[in-house]
């Protein structure tokens, strides 16, 4: 399982990376915004995308939309991990086709639960 972690703060990327490693996901890469993430996704055979929303350059929501609009990436599971907690934003993310939404600050258990849920649902639909 190859995972791309996108966040403009390197500390947050490290935290997520460590939590994922603890959950048994060792193959992770990092990008600091949508603009760097998108080409990585397009050429990198990633199985899962964990992204922040608020980033300079391309924001997470636009990255999500770009992923859904890309034929090859359209089915990539995407988890938003963000401090944005407004109702309209969550609705927007849902409409854009997000697979999970975690609000910061979060804990390891929440991240684990959301990731497991995403994969359960994907397996069930296959």
């Amino acid at each position: 399982m190859k995972i791309l972690i996108v966040d403009d703060f390197s500390t947050m990327r490290r935290i997520i990376k460590n939590l994922l490693r603890d959950l048994g996901f060792n193959n992770t890469s990092e990008a600091d915004d949508g603009n760097t993430a998108l080409p990585m996704l397009q050429s990198g055979n990633f199985d899962f995308l964990v992204t922040d929303w608020n980033m300079p350059g391309m924001e997470g929501i636009d990255l999500l939309k770009a992923v859904r609009a890309d034929e090859k990436l359209a089915n990539l599971p995407v988890l938003l991990v963000t401090a944005e907690a407004k109702k309209e934003q969550i609705v927007e993310a849902a409409q854009a086709g997000v697979n999970g939404y975690v609000v910061k600050p979060f804990n390891a258990a929440t991240l684990k639960e959301k990731i497991e849920k995403i994969f359960e649902r994907i397996e069930a639909s296959q």
């Binding site: 703060f9 390197s10 500390t11 490290r14 935290i15 460590n18 929303w53 608020n54 924001e59 401090a83 944005e84 907690a85 407004k86 109702k87 309209e88 934003q89 969550i90 609705v91 849902a94 939404y101 975690v102 609000v103 910061k104 979060f106 929440t110």
Partner: protein
């Protein structure tokens, strides 16, 4: 206003009477002279009044510390605050990385101890239930010896990592002080702006206030306690509820 009353002064009355009689008597030069005198009186009063207002404004500005401070604020203190806040970002970033590095280094050490202890434990249980052969017991003794030998070294390593984590928290003190100073500066700017608004006379006058346009689609970032936005959800549970109501 004081200078508008000057037209009602004794001096003006004298000139006005002179003007009327000059006109009645057909003395044009005298009439013009009286008219000039009236406007001179008026202008003098007006200039005096403007002078007084200017002085008042100056005194008020000085009183608010605006005249001297406001350029200082713009030139030095605000760029200074920006640097300080950037420093806060740098210091917290360093602290987070120091902490994360210590955690990343400590976890494999813990895992090593955990694995070796659990291996010994399994064998120990077999030993208790008299399930162990003599050879296996010798192997177990060797493993216990080895485990004890590395343990003290590994525990002091973990202790050192924990100490790194402890020391990395010193940023709180530094950033707390810096942020407190910036809060003070913001307060200062606020007070001075209020002073300026009061001087300009439009304070409390809604018509003159700049209309605040609600920023559209601006991301809010983390919700600050006590300042939550009206549509912000409080926690992950509320987010989950909303998502499930949307069919997630």
């Amino acid at each position: 206003m004081a200078f508008s009353e000057s037209i009602l002064s004794e001096q003006c009355l004298v000139q006005a009477r002179g003007l009327v009689s000059s006109i009645e008597n057909g003395c044009e030069d005298a009439a013009i002279g009286h008219l000039r005198e009236i406007s001179r009186i008026n202008e003098t009063k007006m200039f005096q009044e403007i002078g007084r207002l200017t002085r008042e404004l100056h005194d008020t500005l000085v009183g608010f510390g605006i005249e001297t401070d406001i350029s200082d604020l713009a030139e030095h203190e605000i760029p200074d605050a920006r640097e300080r806040l950037n420093h806060v970002i740098k210091v917290t970033d360093q602290a987070a990385h120091k902490t994360l590095t210590a955690v990343e280094d400590a976890i494999p050490v813990c895992r090593e101890l955990e694995e070796s202890a659990s291996k010994i434990e399994d064998q120990w249980k077999r030993f208790i239930s008299r399930d162990l052969s003599a050879d296996e017991f010798r192997e177990l003794s060797r493993e216990i010896g080895e485990h004890l030998e590395v343990s003290s070294d590994r525990y002091s390593k973990i202790k050192a990592y924990l100490n790194d984590i402890l020391m990395a928290q010193d940023f709180q003190d530094i950033t707390g002080q810096i942020i407190r100073r910036v809060i003070g500066l913001v307060q200062d700017v606020e007070d001075k702006l209020i002073g300026l608004i009061k001087i300009s006379g439009s304070f409390g006058n809604d018509d003159n206030r700049l209309e605040r346009k609600p920023a559209e689609k601006v991301l809010e970032g983390p919700q600050v306690p006590g300042k939550e936005s009206a549509t912000a959800l409080k926690n992950q549970d509320e987010v989950d509820d909303l998502l499930s109501s949307l069919g997630f």
